[in-house]
């Protein structure tokens, strides 16, 4: 009876997972082998969507480049930045709670709202960007109005929302045993040595977790690119998910869009696996060998 009620109580999630998640995921894989607009046609074409994507899609290379640059710049920078902020906020300073709240706040603001605010912040004429660059005596970049600066603009926005990473690092920092740091200091280690030889190794499981999540999230960047630039100017911020969206909902090629989604999945899987595989060399687990 207990088992029955146990199953009953978890059944909402199981149903949700099976029907709304696993079911739709499998359906999109199924759909990727069809020429389908979801309304009038469902023609089986085997791997032709994948062939077209690699051989004929003029935007594939561009979206791959944009997404890769976004990920390979934003993930390392976000990791370093959020760790640095966490270290600062882990100090015994006045108004610590207020600072922590302030740094975390952007993480709970809607992506659309954040995007709209940043459009103004990065306006080279009237925004904060213009003011800052004026003070420096340099002309502000044109950000979203320039092919060269639009993507850096989106990366900058992504860094503003590192509050979640920061919070996890903060939790990790507070779990670092103080006796280890004290022992190191007694042995003559300076602050930098303590940080790099004690704190960072003990934080590596948290770093691994954050990096994996950031890789997944950054390859799926959509909201900021959609709201701010719609992929422009001249496709300078056309990410892979934006391409999926365009192909499905604007061009009615749902089967083709599904195939792009699965290629993106493979790419994310690949980089996640690379990080996982390498983790044996750099992630330290107190309880023993890396898992």
């Amino acid at each position: 009876m207990e088992a029955f009620f146990g199953l009953l109580f978890v059944s909402p999630y199981i149903i949700h997972f099976v029907v709304l998640q696993a079911g739709t995921i499998l359906y999109s894989l199924f759909l990727s082998f069809f020429d389908s607009d979801m309304l009038t046609k469902m023609n089986f074409i085997g791997l032709d969507n994948y062939r077209y994507l690699f051989e004929n899609e003029p935007l594939f290379g561009q979206t791959l480049k944009v997404t890769a640059v976004y990920s390979f710049v934003s993930v390392p920078v976000a990791t370093i930045l959020s760790l640095a902020i966490a270290v600062l906020l882990n100090q015994n300073i006045k108004f610590q709670g207020i600072f922590r709240t302030m740094y975390y706040l952007p993480a709970v603001v809607s992506g659309v709202a954040v995007a709209l605010v940043w459009i103004w912040v990065l306006n080279p004429d009237y925004g904060l960007s213009g003011v800052v660059f004026d003070l420096l005596g340099v002309q502000s970049p044109r950000w979203f109005w320039s092919e060269g600066w639009a993507l850096p603009g989106l990366i900058l926005i992504s860094l503003w929302g590192t509050g979640t990473n920061m919070l996890l690092y903060l939790a990790g920092l507070q779990a670092v045993p103080t006796q280890l740091m004290e022992a190191a200091r007694i042995d003559g280690a300076g602050a930098a040595r303590v940080f790099f030889s004690i704190t960072v190794p003990l934080l590596t499981p948290t770093i691994l977790f954050n990096v994996i999540l950031n890789i997944i999230g950054s390859f799926q960047v959509f909201t900021s690119a959609y709201v701010i630039t719609s992929g422009g100017p001249n496709n300078a911020t056309l990410t892979m998910v934006l391409l999926i969206y365009q192909k499905a909902f604007q061009n009615f090629h749902f089967g083709y869009a599904s195939s792009i989604a699965w290629v993106l999945f493979i790419i994310i899987l690949f980089f996640s696996m690379v990080v996982f595989r390498s983790s044996g060399r750099w992630v330290y687990y107190e309880s023993g060998a890396p898992r």
Partner: protein, 483 residues
């Protein structure tokens, strides 16, 4: 080689797949959801862009539906892509329709949600689309192509007399038919928008420039834009002489037309034609004014927001945009004198601007086509049109109501007395507004052309000759079939 799968086969396969996933999940080892498999979020609102849609919807996703209750049994849903005033006026007129058509029980008027085009597609797939929805020629073709829209031509033939049809504007009535899609008439007119030049008389007076007139040319237009442009001591432009969204998909095409060129080959809708000398000269007129003369407003200056919002700020002396008399009066509030004028003729002596086909369409999957048609006729009818004129000041779709529109607009808003609203009546008599030239696959062309227009006009990063290679790309995509 492609193989057709029947609906039944498809459902069996899908059920099998779902069943397999149920077993997999229950058998343990269920993995977390794939991050990549889901489509992009569909609820994000589109960015506010200027001139990207002909129908300037003021709808927001938060507004609640409104309903009119009748005594019949058939309920209808109508999705309206306009602001609150329009929706309220629509609901207020519906009791008269319900009296006239007793079979209708309730008409729910729903505001279009954010990202509504995509949600409409999803609701059609799900079988829950509204019976009647607002639509216009630029975005209807994919829906027509996929059999989602009722061809109303047979219904028109059945219910309208020739004299009734003469009350609609010839050009707008013509453009509701899509010749390359079996001459389907996709809907009935709901309202009309046309491009005019708005100008600030105070700025013209200050610059000593003669007000625009009917015989203005594009040479005069550019000359005035240059004279009206004001720079501060540092050389920064504080007032641009003209604002025209040359980068916009729904506005870029008519300048090449009046220069004697085309955007689509008139004899072959799979061939791009904007690489001709005439078309390139038309693009160059805008590019030079924007990037060399710095007399035409680049979108950065107003964050791609509407000209309407920024016209009163003084950032522009003239703007080429639609006709929104009440909205303009709300914005300007009599603080300065302004007026409308016809957009000048091109070098060929031809005058042409975007004239919209804003209308309503009936979803093919509706269970109440007859009642939906009655609603559609009502919207295109004189009573509804008059109510909308009174509530919103927008230009009606019938000659008989247009005659009253001018009086109503000026009486309701005395500030509009000197705004030269006559241009709308004159434009209808001259008949120069109209719909764009369509490609066979308009979406595929748009995907290539819009980024190119951005490169030339938004970033200023390319000469207009760049459009030559873009024309080749468009033709290739149209002929080979792009996905």
């Amino acid at each position: 080689m492609s193989t057709m799968v029947t609906r039944k086969q498809f459902l069996h396969t899908a059920a099998g797949l779902i069943g397999a996933s149920v077993l997999a999940a229950c058998g343990g080892g269920a993995s977390t959801a794939s991050p990549a498999a889901g489509a992009a979020p569909a609820s994000t609102p589109k960015p506010a862009t200027n001139g990207t849609t002909a129908s300037s919807s003021g709808a927001t996703p938060t507004r609640a539906p409104m309903a009119a209750q009748g005594k019949g049994k058939v309920d209808l849903t109508w999705e309206v892509s306009q602001g609150d005033a329009w929706m309220k006026a629509s609901v207020a007129t519906l009791p008269a329709l319900l009296d006239k058509v007793p079979a209708i029980g309730k008409v729910t008027v729903e505001p279009t949600p954010g990202d509504w085009e995509n949600k409409l597609v999803a609701s059609m797939v799900a079988g829950t689309a509204p019976d009647v929805f607002d639509m216009w020629g630029d975005i209807i073709p994919p829906f027509v192509e996929r059999g989602q829209v009722v061809d109303v031509q047979p219904l028109v033939n059945r219910d309208y007399k020739a004299a009734d049809l003469q009350d609609f504007y010839d050009w707008q009535w013509r453009d509701f038919v899509l010749p390359w899609l079996n001459n389907i008439r996709f809907g009935m007119p709901r309202y009309v928008n046309m491009m005019f030049t708005w100008y600030r008389k105070d700025m013209f007076d200050k610059a000593g420039v003669k007000y625009p007139s009917l015989d203005w040319s594009h040479v005069d237009y550019a000359d005035a834009a240059n004279k009206l442009t004001v720079k501060d001591s540092s050389g920064k432009v504080t007032t641009f002489g003209l604002a025209y969204p040359a980068w916009s998909w729904d506005r870029y095409w008519y300048k090449p037309t009046i220069w004697g060129g085309h955007t689509v080959d008139p004899n072959d809708n799979t061939k791009a034609a904007f690489d001709s000398e005439q078309s390139l000269a038309a693009f160059e007129w805008s590019r030079k004014l924007m990037w060399d003369d710095k007399a035409m407003l680049p979108p950065l200056e107003i964050q791609n927001q509407s000209f309407l919002l920024h016209f009163p700020t003084g950032i522009m002396a003239m703007a080429e945009d639609g006709i929104y008399p009440f909205e303009m009066d709300d914005q300007i509030q009599g603080k300065f004198e302004w007026a409308y004028m016809h957009v000048p003729k091109g070098p060929t002596g031809v005058r042409k601007v975007l004239g919209t086909t804003d209308g309503t369409a009936i979803w093919k999957g509706t269970k109440a086509q007859d009642e939906a048609w009655e609603l559609q006729k009502w919207v295109a009818g004189p009573d509804y049109q008059l109510a909308i004129v009174q509530a919103t000041g927008r230009v009606p779709v019938r000659h008989s109501v247009l005659a009253k529109w001018l009086d109503i607009a000026v009486k309701t808003r005395p500030n509009l007395k000197n705004a030269n609203l006559n241009v709308a009546l004159e434009a209808m008599q001259m008949g120069y507004p109209g719909a764009r030239e369509f490609y066979k696959d308009n979406n595929a062309a748009q995907e290539i052309i819009v980024p190119a227009l951005q490169k030339v006009f938004v970033t200023g990063g390319a000469p207009v000759t760049y459009m030559k290679q873009i024309a080749t790309q468009v033709t290739n995509a149209e002929k080979n079939g792009a996905r």
